[in-house]
Amino acid sequence: MANLRRPRSAAHSLGRRRALTAPVAAGALVRLLTERFGSDLRDLWTDEDTVEFQTDASRAHDQLRTLRDDPDLAFFMLADAAAVDYGTGTRFEVVYHLFSWKHPGWLRLRVHVDRSDPRIATITDLWEGAMFHEREMYDMMGIVFEGNRDLRRIYMSPDYRSFPHRKDFVLPDDAADSPAAGVNPLERPETWDLTRFNQAPDITFPTSELRDDAPAEAVEDGATRADTGRPR
């Protein structure tokens, strides 16, 4: 995976770059951030309408608390919380977007989460609205949010085994004849095997023994067909 450094000026073919709307005002935010968070701030970077910095899972919750409660930062609204998977060998990333009246543009907080044991502190105590964001991230990526009162699958059926938005969950190219043949099995309650539920909800990573009944076929770049884990 190419290293995702972003070139400073990407003037491109016909269209001219959008003029930087607020270089100066962002400076005030940048100064405040370095003053508040200092060493933990990594790779502070600004775009024409976004200020972005990275941090790691343990520091994320306190930084978000200060961002929200500090009077001159005042990021009162959590616009978005997304999970990004950077491939089997690398890491997960939980990306928070915040908005404040005092600072123009969005603040993007990228939190690194270890892929083998994806755990991060929940922020539902700061914003109640983060509950559905976190349930979706758990449902789609398998990131466990410690302290979340209601961490269960929101989209897929409660006994669905794999996490669809991970990079190793390969979409069957032709749904008709691939092992993950679309409809198989039908989401019918009587086909659920209920043994799956008495395990604790913190099943973070569908290790191979979980899918003992489905032999894992190797796919070209090492990603297994996660879908074979479905009960036939």
Binding site: L186, R188, P189
Partner: protein, 217 residues
């Protein structure tokens, strides 16, 4: 005379929908009964007695059924909005006697599946279909319903409603225009009227479950 549906124990019945849907045609192969157009139902009892009445009555019955099809008030996604705009003032489905969208499946004749059928919704939809009383028809509205449409490759979409239930009329389009849906309903009218004479009181659609795991009690 109300033919009561034969009760089958659903443990033995294979879970429906996995295998391909086979719509049993007229089994009627028993020589003694076939000349009267009757045959024995696998769970006992006969049906098809109505054939004895001359076809003129069936013709009238089909005309009555065709002109008063009550659709079930159920829509899945964007096609439901087009189904609603079919029932509104501009293009009016009430002209063909279809207006009272019945909320309960017990009183509906037609199940217009409008929208993308996902694996999580397949169970409830099959239950709705099985709760509807006989002479029932199914109209698959929209390409998502007919074959999975633009979401065919998705991990959670049923590639076509006919994988879970027998469909009578397919209406193409994403979403089909209201005129397209009305054209589909006219096709359904012809289909209902074509079955003159060979309509039976009880269409054998295989072992029907009477108790459902997810029955709303």
């Amino acid at each position: 005379m109300a033919v009561d549906r034969p009760t089958t124990t659903d443990e033995t019945a294979p879970p429906r929908g996995n295998g391909p849907i086979v719509i049993p045609d007229q089994a009627g192969n028993d020589p003694l009964l076939s000349q009267f157009g009757m045959e024995e139902h696998p769970q006992g009892g006969f049906h098809g007695l109505l054939e004895v009445i001359p076809t003129k009555a069936d013709y009238v019955l089909d005309l009555i059924r065709a002109n008063s099809l009550w659709p079930l008030l159920s829509g899945l996604s964007c096609c439901a909005i087009e189904m609603m705009s079919t029932a509104t003032s501009v293009n009016d489905i009430d002209r063909f006697g279809m207006f009272p969208f019945r909320a309960s499946p017990r009183q509906a004749d037609v199940l217009i599946v409008a929208g993308t059928l996902t694996t999580k919704m397949a169970g409830p939809l099959v239950r709705l279909w099985e709760q509807m009383p006989e002479p029932k028809w199914c109209v698959a509205m929209g390409t998502c319903t007919t074959s999975g449409g633009r979401f065919k490759r998705s991990y959670s979409v049923v590639q076509g409603v006919d994988r879970v239930m027998p469909v009578d009329v397919y209406v193409p389009g994403c979403p089909p225009r209201p005129e397209g849906l009305i054209y589909g309903m006219m096709k359904l009218h012809e289909l209902v009227k074509q079955r003159r004479g060979e309509w039976r009181t009880y269409v054998d659609r295989g072992p029907q479950r009477t108790r459902w795991e997810g029955d709303v009690r």
